[in-house]
Each structure stands twice: as C-alpha cells, then as structure tokens.
C-alpha cells in the first residue's frame, strides 16, 4: 500500500522518537562516553596532577557514588572523587552531560566555594575561573592549584 504520510510528519515523528526518554540507544552511548570522560578526568588528577602529593601522603583519595538524573540520559550513577587535603575535603562532583556550550560539567566543591570544570572535547577539561567576564583555562597543575586555593580555607 502506498504511504500517504508526508515526509515532514515522518521527520518530525522520527526526531521525537530519537529524543524520547524510552529510546535508550543514543542516551546509553552518550552516558557511557560521559562517564568515561569523568573517569579520565579523575585519572589525570590522581595519576598526573596530584601524583606526587598523593605518593607523599599529602593528599588522600577516595570515591563515592553519586546518582544523576538527566533528560535523554536517564538516571545513572557516576563516581565523585574525594580529596582529603590536610583534613579538609574537596570533591570533584559531576553535574551532568547536558550542559550548554560544553560536553559535560564537573564541579570542584570545597568548604568555601565551588568552581566549575567543563569538558570541551572528549579529553580536554577547562576550569571556569570567572563568569563575568568569562575566563576558562585549560586544566593543568597551575590552574588546579589556583582552583584549590579558591575553594579551600
């Protein structure tokens, strides 16, 4: 039987289906990539940026699970990276994948302040040091130290 349904209607319904909460395929893949990116961030922090301090016992590292609920991605669990620095706790706490202008966001939460880290590409994280005017810098040892100074006592 010849279809009488217009292409516009088909396109519209297809796009709705792709964005529907029930459609897990696209969401699962994005979720998997996002969680992998968060784990790579933690690896960079623990194995590279803070490796010496961790080895010297100046920083103690642990992980706790956090549950996040996001549109299109559903509810998922992702680790928080918890640093104990001289008795003061600082957490890398994932906020989500659905972020305007970035591919994901993790907050660095200290006792005095919170700083945002954004995922620019699959591997590159930036620290948002100021919002007005916006100043985001690549995550490295120097910028991480600046961020820690801001959020800690």
């Amino acid at each position: 039987m010849k279809s009488t349904q217009s292409d516009e209607v088909k396109d519209f319904l297809l796009s709705r289906q792709q964005h529907a909460p029930g459609n897990e395929n696209g969401g699962k893949e994005r979720r998997r990539e996002w969680i992998a990116a968060v784990k790579r961030l933690y690896q960079k922090v623990t194995d590279e940026l803070l490796a010496e301090s961790i080895a010297q016992g100046l920083v103690t590292v642990s992980r706790v699970q956090k549950e996040i609920k996001e549109e299109y991605l559903g509810t998922y669990r992702v680790p928080e990276l918890v640093l104990d620095i001289g008795g003061e706790t600082v957490r890398f706490s994932p906020k989500g994948r659905n972020i305007i202008g970035a591919q994901g966001r993790v907050d660095l939460v200290g006792e005095l302040d919170t700083i945002t880290l954004v995922l620019d590409t699959a591997e590159d994280w930036s620290i948002v040091l100021a919002r007005v005017p916006r100043r985001a810098v690549a995550l490295n040892g120097k910028t991480l130290a600046e961020a820690l100074r801001r959020v800690m006592r």
Binding site: I100, L112, R131
Partner: protein, 181 residues
C-alpha cells in the same frame, strides 16, 4: 536613605559581580579567623566565640548570601524580561513577536504573567529559544521559594542549583532571545 524608584537599566553581570565580591570578602576573613582570634583582632561581639562557632556562622552567612544572590539574579532576570516585553510590544524590533505581545498587552493590561504571557510566547514564536527558556522555567519556582520564606519543598527543574547555575541559565536565555528572529 536610598530612594526607591523604577530602575530601567538592569544588569545580570553586575549582580553576579556583587555576589562574587561578597563571597571573596567573606572567604578571606574566614581564612584569617584563626589569626584574628589569636591576635584579638575580632570585633567585640565575636570575642567570646570559639573558632568552630565562628566558622559555623560564616558557613551560615555563605548560605544566606547564596540565597540572596539567587533571588537577586532571578528578580533581575524577571525585570529584564518584563522591560523587554514592554519594549517589544511597542516597537517592531522583532516583528514576529511584536503583534503577539501587543495583543497580550492590550488584553491583560498590567497583569502580564511571566510564564504564560512572556516565556511561553517566546517559545511559540521563536522555537530556537525553547531549550534555554525551559531551563529557566525550571528555576523560576526557586524565586517564589526564596521570596516567600522557603518553608516548603520547591518543585524545581534540577535537584540543586548553585548561584553560578542561576546566572548561566538566565544569561543563556536572555542571549538566545536577543539572537532570535
């Protein structure tokens, strides 16, 4: 004594800078508390307090600063939306929304509703603004919660919002609106 008059020029950036300055000052003193306590440099009313008690007060001050800043940002964003409504219903700067706003303005007079009359009309006329407006609508109940005493659990879009989130969401929406059409 401050004069209470209509402020026609509102600025989200200015509010956020105010918040950052307050937080910076608060945190600087928080960091210096042990030395201030030892050196007897604290104001008289705080001299009998322990370091722990002072830190609890500073933590509470940060929480209230965050509440105040979020409310300030949300009410400023609302003022910007309402001023924009007023402007767009009188001038054909954005012709597609001009007629709709002019009609709503004639029908509702001074009782323009933020969500139904302004935000929903933006979404209908400029669908490209929908995502950012939906994000903002998720945070609007926070304004009511903050303005009316926080005695109930607000139904907000996300589980938690930081001051920076509120600023980002409101700024993004206003930018999208400016670019629309």
């Amino acid at each position: 004594m401050p004069r209470f008059e209509a402020e026609r020029l509102q600025d989200l950036d200015e509010v956020f800078r105010w918040y950052e300055l307050q937080l910076l000052l608060l945190n600087e003193v928080d960091r210096q508390l042990p030395q201030l306590l030892l050196g007897d440099f604290l104001p008289e009313i705080y001299r009998d307090e322990s370091l722990d008690e002072l830190r609890k007060q500073f933590a509470s001050a940060r929480k209230h600063l965050q509440y105040a800043a979020m409310l300030h940002l949300l009410t400023t964003a609302e003022a910007l939306l309402r001023l924009d409504f007023e402007h767009l219903s009188k001038r054909k700067t954005k012709p597609a929304i001009f007629r709709r706003f002019r009609k709503i303005g004639r029908e509702r007079g001074e009782k323009i509703r933020l969500e139904e009359d302004i935000l929903d009309t933006w979404i209908e006329v400029y669908p490209e603004t929908a995502r950012s407006i939906r994000e903002f609508k998720g945070v609007v109940p926070l304004r009511d919660w903050l303005a009316h005493g926080r005695y109930w659990n607000p139904k907000i879009g996300r589980r938690e919002y930081e001051v920076g989130d509120v600023f980002d969401i409101a700024s993004e929406m206003l930018n999208r609106m400016q670019d629309a059409g």
